[in-house]
């Protein structure tokens, strides 16, 4: 009977694992819904800003803000956004692969890189391999706020203002749907002009208080921050979606394992009974 007892313990341990993974799956599902809601809420702000910036750029062709003008590229800044925790399938791995491929391309064309990592997974990854990290932030939780991003984004913007970097990119996972997320590299600086803004041809201008340049400065800084914030929120939604899927398949796997073990357990039990019976019968025959 020793074997069947062993199997029984195994089954109960797998059952408790399954309970955990199932709970994690449900938690991730509800967190994902909340993250998607936050994603939706953050959109109007950035859209409005893009409109105003597009208009400003058009109304003031004589004043070129450095954020709107490209320059020869020698060194670039990368903001890499990852999750803080694991158990979310291949989400971070996929992101790092895309990042690494891009970094290799840049290096081959003799472009240096400054990294800003957000999320402890990317901090750990790039630290291990000795990347040039200039800013770092992690443990932003499931509901990140813009306040957390002011510091790291400012480091990169300052570097751009001082001419240390000539371009700025953000790398994050784009949320396509629950089943699929894809790593994305988005250019932040110089600001890429929207095509549709060019359609605004009639001439009118704002009254600026105090003056246009100061207004534009404040606006562009907030615009970049809001883009990074959006990327971060989107990445959180991806994390939860990926975790939900990973935990679902873990629960399913546990289920099929339990089935197999149950079968083995039944067989072992039957074999034991048969053996006992034959022992009794042969014992009776001997008497």
């Amino acid at each position: 009977m020793a074997k069947s007892k062993e199997i029984r313990t195994k089954i109960s341990s797998i059952k408790s694992t399954q309970k955990i993974t199932r709970a994690m799956e449900m938690v991730a599902a509800s967190k994902m819904r909340k993250a998607q809601e936050r994603m939706r809420k953050s959109r109007p702000y950035a859209e409005k800003m893009r409109q105003i910036i597009g208009h400003l750029a058009q109304a003031h062709p004589e004043y070129k803000h450095p954020y709107l003008v490209g320059r020869p590229v020698q060194r670039i800044g990368l903001i890499v956004i990852s999750s803080d925790r694991g158990l979310c399938g291949g989400l971070n791995t996929g992101l790092f692969r895309t990042t690494l491929a891009a970094m290799k391309r840049w290096r081959n064309s003799k472009i240096e890189m400054n990294l800003c990592t957000i999320g402890s997974k990317s901090s750990m990854f790039f630290r291990r391999f000795g990347a040039n990290m200039v800013a770092q932030k992690d443990h932003l939780g499931d509901a990140p706020t813009l306040i957390d991003l002011i510091g790291p984004v400012k480091v990169m913007l300052d570097a751009y203002n001082e001419g240390q970097i000539d371009q700025l990119y953000v790398i994050f996972n784009r949320f396509i749907n629950t089943m699929s997320q894809s790593p994305q590299i988005q250019q932040l600086l110089p600001v890429v002009a929207d095509e549709e803004d060019a359609l605004l041809t009639h001439h009118w201008d704002y009254i600026y208080e105090p003056e246009a340049q100061a207004v534009l400065d404040g606006l562009l800084m907030r615009y970049i921050e809001s883009l990074v914030y959006q990327a971060l929120v989107e990445n959180v939604a991806c994390e939860q979606a990926a975790r939900m899927v990973a935990m679902k398949s873990a629960s399913d796997n546990a289920g099929s394992l339990i089935e197999e073990l149950q079968l083995a357990y039944n067989k072992a039990r039957q074999a034991a009974i048969t053996q006992e019976l034959s022992e009794i019968v042969s014992g009776a025959a001997a008497v």
Binding site: L100, R107, T117, S123, F129, G151, P210, V215
Partner: protein, 140 residues
């Protein structure tokens, strides 16, 4: 009915208010401004303070903003609200903290980014993921 103007208050994290109003009073950097319908286009930063939205003659709502931007077009007022108090030295402090965290992490840093090693590790992780996916298929 009195003339109205559409007002949106948005922050990077959420939409705070959206609707029609008769008048908006906002704390601009150079002093409070009152906006009525068909105001000339205006763009100005805001300081921390209360935004008053006059919905009708006897009904008004107050919102607190900690700074931001005010955009006015003849039939549209948009307030891009900050979610935090912004001050130069506060921002500076946050930036310094982010820098220090990176420096702390890099104390035992090697000379150059080790592409080969990083790729090898990623390849391993990807292989594991593939194996899991294949295993799942076989099981089914």
């Amino acid at each position: 009915m009195a003339m109205t103007i559409h007002v949106d208050i948005v922050s990077a994290e959420s939409q705070i208010f959206s609707g029609l109003a008769e008048m908006v009073v906002a704390p601009a950097v150079n002093g409070d401004v009152g906006i009525l319908p068909r105001h000339a286009p205006l763009l100005t930063p805001l300081r921390a303070g209360a935004v008053k939205i006059q919905l009708s003659s006897d009904h008004e709502e107050l919102f607190y903003v900690s700074g931001g931007m005010l955009e006015v077009q003849p039939h549209l007022v948009t307030i891009l609200s900050d979610t935090a108090l912004r001050a130069h030295d506060l921002d500076e402090e946050a930036a310094l903290e982010a820098k220090q965290r990176a420096e702390k992490l890099l104390q035992d840093r090697k000379t150059a980014f080790d592409y080969a090693k990083a790729q090898a590790e990623l390849a391993e992780a990807v292989a594991q993921l593939r194996a899991i996916a294949r295993l799942r298929k076989i099981r089914k």
